[in-house]
């Protein structure tokens, strides 16, 4: 049971995001349902810790067993989503993920992975490239150059 609740035209989500970074590039994904690039991750399930959630999502989407380096941002965001037009109140924890010990870096700059009935396309995007891309979260376009050394709170109100 995902921690995601809809009430009239509001939606609350508790999510985690995986930041997989290598050589000034971040691993981003997109699929046929979203016109924008986004990061691996997903909603936390009931009884699951945030750390368990992010490792599970990385396993499901990329088929790798990764490790968590550390949490980076706790983001409280308020926005209207582009596709379903609902008003979101979202809590998201961003983790730096360590993929050493997996074969992720051998898959090339772009590759696809099938998760159930969906096909995800992954691409290593250079930090400079995401500036002009249709990419979420928007704050990361600038902040990726200044990743904090400590777990930091962010607030984003659209």
């Amino acid at each position: 049971m995902d921690i995601s609740f809809k009430l009239e035209n509001n939606k609350f989500n508790y999510r985690v995001c995986a930041m997989i970074i290598h050589n000034h590039k971040i691993l981003a994904m997109h699929d046929d349902r979203s016109p924008y690039y986004y990061l691996p991750g997903g909603r936390v399930r009931m009884t699951e810790t945030a750390e368990d959630a992010v490792l599970r999502e990385v396993q499901e989407e990329l088929h790798i067993t990764a490790k968590i380096e550390r949490p980076v941002w706790l983001n409280q965001a308020f926005f209207t989503e582009d596709v379903d037009h609902l008003k979101y109140h979202e809590l998201c924890i961003y983790f730096l993920i360590d993929v050493s010990g997996t074969d992720l870096l051998e898959r090339g700059t772009a590759f696809t992975v099938i998760e159930g009935y969906r096909t995800h396309t992954f691409e290593w995007l250079d930090f400079d490239r995401i500036q002009d891309e249709y990419f979420y979260p928007i704050f990361l376009k600038k902040e990726i150059y200044h990743i904090p050394n400590e777990f930091t709170l962010r607030t984003e109100i659209e």
């Binding site: 921690i3 609740f5 009884t47 008003k87």
Partner: protein, 159 residues
């Protein structure tokens, strides 16, 4: 609408709490008919920022104005509530009193409302050195208070 959602077996709750320390004493709350102490705060309201919720909760429950400082602790708490399993995210912020009319020592009363029910609350100023002698949540509070000068502490608590 408070961010507290229930299914048949589970409850998810999103709370914010204030760490208010004055003269070596911390303000803790305790329901009048129960034993455990906790940090004052409340459930985040859908569409409201954590800071807005915290300011409002201190005004509603205690009748005081506070300024919200840094986020200090992020807790993922798992405990039984009524007869369901509850998962709570609780964010603890440093808060500073902006009002002068409450006592800075001893105990005073307030009220809390959860889902339309009123609970009588007691607010106590507890000396930091006394924390080890009382029943307080989160149970790792002494360790967390020791690290207040450091960055944000992230912890998981399973009851």
């Amino acid at each position: 609408m408070d961010i507290i959602f229930k299914t048949e077996e589970f409850v998810f709750s999103y709370r914010v709490a204030g760490i208010c320390i004055q003269n070596g004493k911390v303000m803790l709350q305790k329901p009048s008919n129960d034993t455990g102490f906790a940090f004052p705060g409340g459930h985040v309201t859908l569409g409201e920022t954590n800071e807005q919720t915290l300011i409002r909760e201190f005004q509603e429950e205690i009748g005081i104005d506070v300024a919200v400082g840094d986020l200090k602790w992020v807790g993922e708490l798992f405990f039984p509530w009524e007869n369901k399993r509850c998962q709570q995210i609780c964010l603890y912020y440093l808060v500073e009193l902006q009002s002068e009319h409450i006592p800075l020592d001893g105990m005073f009363l307030g009220k809390e409302q959860i889902e339309g029910r009123n609970f009588d609350l007691e607010f106590h100023w507890i000396s930091l050195t006394e924390l080890k002698n009382i029943e307080v949540y989160p149970t790792n509070v002494i360790e967390l208070v020791d690290k207040l000068q450091q960055g944000v502490q992230h912890f998981v608590y399973h009851e």
